[in-house]
Symmetry: C2
Subunit: 374 residues, 2 copies
């Protein structure tokens, strides 16, 4: 459903800063305001101290400061005043805002007699359609992620299994913390920041956002999820591998094979024009065919505990979401495809890669082999 054309007003923290970078190229580090008119004209309001940097970096935008908009010095730090001055300058009486637009700003605008129309789905939908330059930037980060993943896997490969099944590198235990730091160093060497990498072992893998801690063990799943953000341009990469040091149980091997097959099923389903949920369905079917059900056990969701994928770009998680909600895939979508299975007592297995959606399928942003038993 197409919304009525209205000027679009963006301000706030979090996602709005990514929207503004997408539309102007300017990476704001403090609060700013962007007004995009129906004719495409963009007006960016930045703090006085950011004026020079914005003039230099913000493309196709008029750059304003609160001073230029005659915001009184008393109100110089009140973004609500910047917004109302900018709207008054352009004689705007009605605007679109995103769902995340701060409520306090909205109230201030309404008080000035401007009416507000919330857009539930991002009008900056062009964010999900990556141009070649953006694909290159995502590749930068994904390349770093793949190198870090390979190096981490080599390290686990080189480790020895101690008598109590713990992993050792020389005389030291191989811990999640050590491996996470090892990964972070490699990411830094490739101009990325990767503060949050997950290196979880055994039951820790059952909580999808558990970072992981302690000594890594043989015969248990070691799940590594590496998601670097490029320090300069801010685009993300995202990769996950699940490995086991030593011979995994039959149960774990079956689970791994199912996840790999589900990943293949997802990849071979993806192409421009199809519904994202058909990709998710392909994953669920593959699991069902192998007897893996998704159900509640003792109050915990087991089986497929998250959706199959998500867009990646200036945000690590952005549209389109590959789950059960309706959304059509398009050429230029970059998707993290990450099917997984999780059963308490066994742990979780997840495989994740980035692909670019094309007219007749998809292609890996940076291919990386899938290893399991090390």
């Amino acid at each position: 459903m197409k919304n009525k054309e209205l000027p679009l007003l963006i301000s706030g923290t979090g996602e709005s800063l990514n929207d503004i970078q997408h539309l102007t190229g300017f990476r704001a580090v403090s609060r700013v305001v962007l007004l995009k008119l129906e004719n495409g004209e963009q007006h960016l309001v930045v703090p006085q101290a950011e004026y020079g940097r914005a003039l230099k970096n913000a493309r196709s935008s008029f750059v304003w400061t609160p001073e230029m908009l005659s915001v009184s010095s008393k109100n110089r730090n009140d973004i609500r005043k910047w917004i109302s001055a900018m709207l008054a300058e352009k004689k705007i009486r009605q605007v679109h805002v995103m769902a995340d637009f701060p409520h306090a700003y909205a109230m201030a605008i309404i008080k000035c007699g401007v009416s507000l129309d919330v857009i539930s789905h991002s009008i900056v939908s062009s964010r999900s359609l990556k141009n070649p330059n953006e694909i290159r930037r995502i590749s930068d980060s994904q390349q770093a992620a793949v190198i870090a993943m390979r190096s981490a896997i080599s390290l686990i490969q080189r480790s020895k299994i101690d008598s109590d099944n713990t992993l050792k590198l020389g005389n030291h235990h191989l811990t999640a913390e050590y491996l996470r730091k090892f990964i972070a160093r490699i990411l830094v060497d490739h101009d990325c920041d990767g503060a949050g990498s997950i290196v979880a072992c055994g039951q820790q893998t059952e909580a999808p956002h558990e970072q992981g801690y302690g000594v890594l063990k043989a015969y248990e799943p070691i799940l590594m999820d590496i998601f670097p953000r490029h320090m300069t341009h801010g685009y993300w990469g995202d990769i996950t591998r699940t490995v086991v040091k030593g011979r995994p149980s039959l149960e774990l091997r079956r689970m791994y094979n199912a996840v790999r097959a589900a990943h293949d099923a997802a990849i071979s389903t993806i192409k421009a024009g199809i519904q994202a949920k058909s990709v998710h369905k392909a994953v669920i079917s593959e699991f069902k065919a192998r007897g893996y059900e998704t159900e509640m056990r003792d109050g915990l969701l087991t089986g497929v505990i998250s959706c199959t994928g998500h867009g990646v770009g200036l945000s690590l998680h952005e549209d389109p979401i590959v789950g059960s909600d309706p959304v059509k895939l398009s050429c230029g979508n970059v998707l993290a495809i990450e099917p997984g299975l999780c059963y308490p007592g066994i742990g979780a297995v997840r495989i994740e890669d980035l692909v670019e959606v094309t007219s007749d399928g998809c292609k890996y942003i940076v291919p990386c082999e899938r290893k399991f038993e090390l």
Copy 2:
């Protein structure tokens, strides 16, 4: 002015996640909802997949999932439904929200007949009062920042000035990019992420958030602003030094001495009970006494181009702001004190350290010597 006691509702991205970590200890990585009742009871709503981790990590909170609140599976991803279900569960008809609360959520709540009261100043004011455990965490990150700063300064010290005034380390030019990566590696070694460090030289320093690029040069200000975030607990550090390789001009030396004196003036003014703006005033007076005025030149603000300081904790910039707005300092505030001067054509000089406000003054979180001419 004290607000009427009402339940507090927190949700959204950005700052709200830090508020929720502050109140519950839980570091959310996806959207969650926190309802804090007048009696202090806390109710946290998390996605099903995060339930186990939240149960384990969220202190003094009841943990809910959308399923437990009987949100229909169709609406399982719609946070507005989580919020209305949680409010209905507790029969809440009126709530406080923060200024940043997403407008779309607010509209949905109002539609359910719940009235909303925006709190312009954070009701989670306890965030600005750090307990000893929080001070220790900030020290972790500040320690990393100080070590990285000292190492970066040593590297510049060891560099040689080439015939064209560029800096060389052995046969290679010393670039901002190289130094930033060198800093990031040290931060990683100390369990911190420091993606955004500023290493700017010469005129680049005039834009306060310019990251810096290219070959570093002698006789020009090199401004390094290092702000690591701890990978595990998420507290920030923040330090800035401005150095010059080789003998700086008299003009630059005078500026540096003024900034150092202003920093001293700020530090000796700070104590619990005083107004933050008296600290800012002490800085401005010190500059004025030395002939440094703040004024517009060719449309650019020159002199003092930002406020004197800000709180540091789970956010890099948080309350209290040390500028011209009225706010009283209290024991346990952790402040980044960063006076600076900036004049186009000369560049910027800034010195920044973290201090903890005490009843009779303040103390450095981690002391670090101030070097200028290298």
